[in-house]
Symmetry: C2
Subunit: 412 residues, 2 copies
């Protein structure tokens, strides 16, 4: 019997009506002949409620107890889903992490899966169970304590089960109907992608297309797990959703897969820093310790022993960054002439595995922005991505112009 | 290190403020030098919420999944309590049923405890843990599924842990401060008992003094577990609460320990039933199947092959009883001349282990009621209890008069 993994997030199981709707969706796949493994999150809001109680106990708390408490929400939805499927004559049972078992590291609240036993669940499939409803986001440590994988861990659970059971595909049901070439709120020409490569998805996810947890995509890439993102609130057809897969499966030959953007960025430049080996570490280690989420980093060519250092971070991290920089300056660790902070920038990126074999994408991007009169303030590039910082007011214009120029509204 | 078991019900852990209050109470016992095992219920209301969802899935549901869902409430409070104790520098950890493990039968939702392993918890006590916070009401079946013990099962969990660990005492914290000689709402002369024998507690519990779950008292009696009932909302002193213990520990020599009453009873009499062997079964088996909770049964002396059969049941079971009797009559199973239903009676009982060695308690009881002009409608007796049915309007008067006559306001 082929196996399918289906994962539903908290909004999809937020109440009994939605649980019934999801159960029907699962029933459709069972009717097609699949043995189904369902991975569930807690009802939306429930995990936050539990976390709130835990945080009330103490500012610093035992992560093992945190895990024991917050994992309970998934146990509830798993049991309710099994009951709902049973009521629809679909033989199902619930599985908590320790029952599977899902063996993890002992890094509580951020555990990693070491091993998923297939024996217990497969034995039940052999006995006629059609659906194994698994509480996502949780496992068990070597010490027999309950662990959780951290926020978004249910996606990771789903991918890991797909790999462990050699399932045909992992369908991630969410509140969007797939991955788009860009944010549909910015241009109505945004097109849902039928397929996207793992690497592209990783770049898009970290750039703000918050559809899938980054770790789950990394895991899927490592084990070549075919992931499908689709909406739990729409009728499904053959072409529903977006398949995240190995690039070899992708026939479209668009060079660029998507245009991503991040609105609330800030650009911070240290002018005329006294350059020496280790200067980057002297700046960025304290920033990291201060909780500043540094994204792009650019250092221009040194002249006469001095350099300009520019980095970007979210606007609401600027205050923290400023005080961290003031501290390292006053400690004498670094020496610079001026600090320039620009809180009115946004980041725009084009992403596509096609860039590996196509040159000229960067040049085309710069030309498009130039034609629109948009000044580029910072550039960084990777193998499959080019990102620029522009004045925030031009962000939508930049995205629309790039989306048009790379013809993303047309399938490749 | 002596061990103490403390059990707190749902109202005692209903929110974080109350959890903190309970944690302080536990800390007091730890400071006295005890290793403490704490048994917790779910936050009040939470189990009902979970049960509500389960009942929404189907009229008849898989009890295994019911157990997996409803047991989650205790896991939450156990974790939160461990965190709260830790925050007060009392080394604690939470234990779910399967982690202890608490081995039970596979009768889901009404499982019985077969065995409680002491090894894991004792190993942690040896390492310096001072409090084991155990999720009550739950266990694990031989098949590795989560089981629950049924409503009130946390009391049973507490007693079973006390027996398994050879703990000094089992303190059951509840919303009343002990067991009273009678309902304090009926007479302000009602006195809290310092001690009460297991057998007396059993008779009082089933008569409506709903302080402890009957099964937990039975278990405590079997293993001679000293149970103390006390309030979680009051400061504790040496004499707090009521100790439920073996009768050998009781020095008071009051013949009667308490007067119990049950307001909403009904008396049903089948007049002139054709008597034959098996007639009682022919009547009461169908009544039981119809869900009628029959309490007292009296059959008077047969005359000329006919007898009168009287029984009592809760008033709201009368309709069911009537239709069940009509059905067995029409089937020809039984034959009687008339059916008399009295919906205006109440039950009053005196209970005391002293009755075993003291004669004349029944006579004294009847005389007291006679003096007050209260007519006795039905009498039943057991070794340590005498119960009568009287007109409902006389119930309070009967309780007050008996309480006075047996001098229950005075310690014996």
């Amino acid at each position: 019997m082929p196996t399918l993994v289906m994962k539903f997030g908290g909004t999809s199981v937020a109440n009994m009506d939605r649980i019934r709707r999801v159960a029907k969706r699962i029933g459709v796949e069972v009717a097609k002949g699949y043995d189904v493994i369902v991975i569930l999150s807690a009802m939306s809001g429930k995990t936050n409620e539990l976390v709130g109680w835990v945080e009330e106990t103490a500012p610093i708390y035992d992560a093992r107890e945190y895990d024991a408490v917050v994992s309970s929400g998934e146990n509830v939805t798993a049991g309710l889903m099994a009951l709902t499927l049973d009521a629809m004559d679909v033989p199902a049972r619930s599985w908590q992490g320790w029952q599977v078992p899902v063996q993890t590291t002992s890094v509580h609240s951020a555990a990693r899966i070491n091993d998923i036993s297939t024996e217990n669940i497969n034995a039940k499939f052999a006995e006629g169970m059609k659906v194994a409803v698994v509480a996502g986001f949780q496992g068990i440590s070597e010490e027999g304590r309950i662990t959780t994988l951290g926020r978004g861990g249910s996606d990771t659970t789903a991918v890991a089960f797909t790999a462990a059971f050699g399932a045909e595909r992992c369908d991630i049901y969410t509140d969007v109907d797939g991955v788009y070439t860009t944010d549909p709120r910015i241009t109505d020409k945004a097109r849902k992608l039928d397929k996207i490569a793992f690497e592209e998805m990783l770049e898009l996810a970290s750039l703000g297309a918050k559809v899938l947890q980054t770790r789950s995509v990394e895991l899927a890439m490592r084990f070549k797990v075919r992931l499908r993102v689709l909406s739990s609130f729409e009728e499904q057809t053959e072409n529903s959703g977006t398949l995240v897969c190995d690039e070899e499966e992708i026939m479209e030959d668009n060079v660029v897969a998507g245009v991503a953007c991040q609105r609330d960025e800030a650009k911070i430049t240290l002018i005329s820093v006294a350059d020496r080996p280790g200067i980057a570490a002297a700046i960025f280690v304290p920033l990291s310790k201060a909780g500043v989420n540094v994204d792009m980093i650019v250092q221009n060519i040194s002249e006469e022993g001095r350099t300009d250092m520019t980095f970007s971070c979210p606007v609401d991290h600027v205050a923290r960054a400023e005080s961290a920089i003031a501290e390292i300056k006053s400690s004498g660790e670094i020496n610079f002439r001026d600090l320039i902070i620009d809180k009115d920038v946004a980041k725009v990126s084009v992403v596509g595995i096609g860039m590996r074999s196509h040159t000229g994408v960067a040049a085309q991007m710069f030309e498009v922005l130039h034609k629109e009169g948009i000044n580029i303030k910072v550039i960084t590039t990777s193998e499959i991505k080019i990102s620029v910082l522009v004045d925030r007011k031009y962000m939508e214009l930049a995205v629309q112009a790039l989306h048009d120029a790379f013809e993303l509204d047309k399938a490749g």
